[in-house]
């Protein structure tokens, strides 16, 4: 029996090796393609957490990218073929997913959705000379020292200093509490620059507390600390899921400071079952506003909602912009789908550093040679369950 088991396992392994090791046959038998194969289409791919705790961000990016590709393909003109692979928010799986995409023949990349996986895949795309524009991996490490890595979102440090600047400029508060996620690159990146900038602007950080993955449901201690130290404003550099719990628990304990969030806070109003009254008065810096009057944004939100039954968040908007930015760039250089990834890479680097792009997450965006985007964060305040521009 033991022998039989060993043989069975070994056979499975061989089958797996062969299935995984073959390059030539995969293209025709692929079932995971997110959009239909189109003749003469650019192969665009990316890795995203589609399962596991970060699945919400990956799914948003996948959905929006899919939507953008369908729209563009329907127009005629430039055609895209999109494939998103699951990376489970893990660097190792992201590299595996990236290699699968490379075997598929990916020409241009959407990088990875989350920062750490993107840091790992960007090293690969850099070495393989495949151009990458990540919608949402915001840490500086993803673009640092890599000429062909670009971002659609702000870098984390940018957000930290912009937030501090904003709080000081509008004289929102002088005593500030920060609650941040200590095992998260995104949160840590914003926290670090916020802490570096704030004192110089006359902001005193009176309470500095953290939480980690798996210990992100009870915030009574952090909130009590902020309250006891007389914080008038609480800065929340985190995503909206824990933020919704913080608002909820603060309300239960009768603590009502000014809440200040960053782009990760966007999405809180669309949480199913969330009492938006709790988010009343929350200020956040975000490049995207799903309630915007802007015609393109409204059309995007309507289509997204019709197709996926949800209101898109900022991850989705960034991904949508990525695909359209690619369209604009490819059209501008007159690229054709038979070009190699390497040829496209050089064209894209030249194009992205010189072009200006108007999207739903910002007007007249530009990129510098480092790959970081320049666009204006918009200050938003939540009033009556909707964003209202502060400026």
């Amino acid at each position: 029996m033991k022998k039989l088991l060993a043989i069975l396992l070994a056979v499975c392994l061989m089958a797996g090796l062969v299935a995984c090791g073959e390059t030539a046959t995969t293209e025709t038998t692929e079932t995971t393609e997110t959009t239909e194969a189109v003749a003469g289409a650019f192969k665009i791919g990316g890795t995203a957490p589609l399962t596991g705790p970060a699945a919400i961000y990956g799914t948003a990016v996948k959905n929006a990218a899919e939507l953008a590709v369908e729209e563009i393909n329907a127009e005629g003109g430039i055609q895209f073929e999109l494939r998103m692979e699951d990376d489970q928010h893990d660097a190792e799986k992201a590299v595996n997913a990236y290699n699968t995409l490379k075997d598929w023949g990916m020409q241009i990349s959407l990088g990875s959705v989350t920062s750490k996986p993107c840091e790992a895949t960007s090293t690969e795309t850099y070495a393989d000379r495949i151009f990458a524009l990540t919608p949402s991996a915001s840490s500086t490490a993803t673009i640092e020292g890599k000429d062909n890595q670009f971002q659609m979102c702000f870098t984390d440090p940018n957000q930290g200093s912009a937030s501090a600047q904003y709080i000081a400029d509008k004289a929102l508060a002088t005593k500030v509490a920060v609650i941040w996620k200590s095992d998260d690159v995104y949160s840590k990146g914003i926290y670090d620059t916020f802490m570096a900038t704030a004192p110089g602007l006359g902001i005193e950080v009176v309470s500095d507390t953290t939480f980690v993955d798996g210990n992100d449901t009870d915030f009574s201690v952090q909130l009590a600390d902020a309250q006891a130290n007389g914080a008038e404003l609480v800065f929340l550099p985190m995503y909206y899921t824990p933020a919704s719990l913080i608002l909820n628990q603060a309300n239960a304990m009768g603590y009502a400071p000014v809440w200040f969030g960053v782009d990760g806070m966007d999405g809180i109003l669309t949480l199913e079952g969330f009492d938006t009254a709790l988010a009343e008065g929350v200020i956040l810096l975000t490049p995207f506003n799903a309630d915007s009057e802007d015609a393109r944004t409204a059309a995007f939100v309507a289509k997204y909602q019709e197709k996926y039954g949800e209101i898109p968040n900022q991850f989705a908007a960034d991904a949508y912009d990525c695909v359209y930015a690619y369209k604009q760039a490819l059209e501008a250089v007159g690229a054709t789908a038979d070009m190699t990834a390497e040829e496209l890479c050089d064209l894209m680097i030249a194009q992205f550093t010189t072009m200006t792009y108007d999207g739903i997450t910002g007007e007249s965006m530009t990129w510098d040679a480092s790959g970081a985007v320049t666009k204006d964060p918009k200050g938003m305040v939540i009033e009556n369950g909707a964003y209202v521009g502060l400026d």
Binding site: I56, T59, T210, E310
Partner: protein, 300 residues
Amino acid sequence: MNIFDSLISGISLGSIYAIIALGYTMVYGIAKMLNFAHGDVIMVGAYICFYTFTGGLMSFLPAVPPYAAILIAVVVCTLLGMLIERLAYKPLRTAPSLAVLITAIGVSYFLQNAALLLWTSNPKVFPSFFNFGGNTNIELGGLRISYVTIVTIIVSAVIMVALTLFTSYSKTGKAMRACSEDKGAAQLMGINVNTTISITFAIGSGLAAIAGVLLCSAYPTLVPTTGSMPGIKAFTAAVFGGIGSIPGAMLGGLLLGVIEIFSKAYISTQLSDAIVFAVLIVVLLVKPTGLLGKPIREKV
């Protein structure tokens, strides 16, 4: 944060751990297996309750009042628990315990990913069932306690007492204890071991549904991975109190919650998990079978 506030926060967190730990310890005590899928049954219970309450589970079903939603969740989870036991664990009754452990992990992955496909990764905010007169809190001598905490403590105490009485006095309960002592001997005495273990899973999973509702009432974000970390913490709590011991699970859960909150409040929010686990290790070194666990007798 003053010491009383910390204590109350600790007890409210601890009572949630306690109620999950009761389910863990029940299954471990009788079936002698670590059911790592317990946390995920909790998540399923919370989803069922959420959707029956909001009326989104199936389009033809109407929205129901909270008590009915909780009841439906308990029934569904009880059936789910029996189904899992029948399909995944029963074929492995004579297999080594490690094989069962791995299967339980497989079940846990399965439930999480099925929930991801069925209910998507978008978080749901759980409705607050426990507000009376529009208030979620009650003021007691300057201290603010939420109703959820009070309900959780009462419910877990009631369950603890009920389970103790059930296993001590009822016929099925006695059969359970017999199976726990020695399956072979129990069978010889005419006890149907398979049925008894099935009932154990049914009870454990029903409890999981209640735990899910209370967990999500206290911390109202519901995602497919909601159950996994509280599951592990509650498992720790069960071991802390002496796994297999029903009052032990309750005590372990409460202590774990209090230690967690105190280490966050007075030592470091960054290292609170490490401190909780360090305390666990120290306790196990002093009492190798947990606080209320029976000492293991060794036979040569």
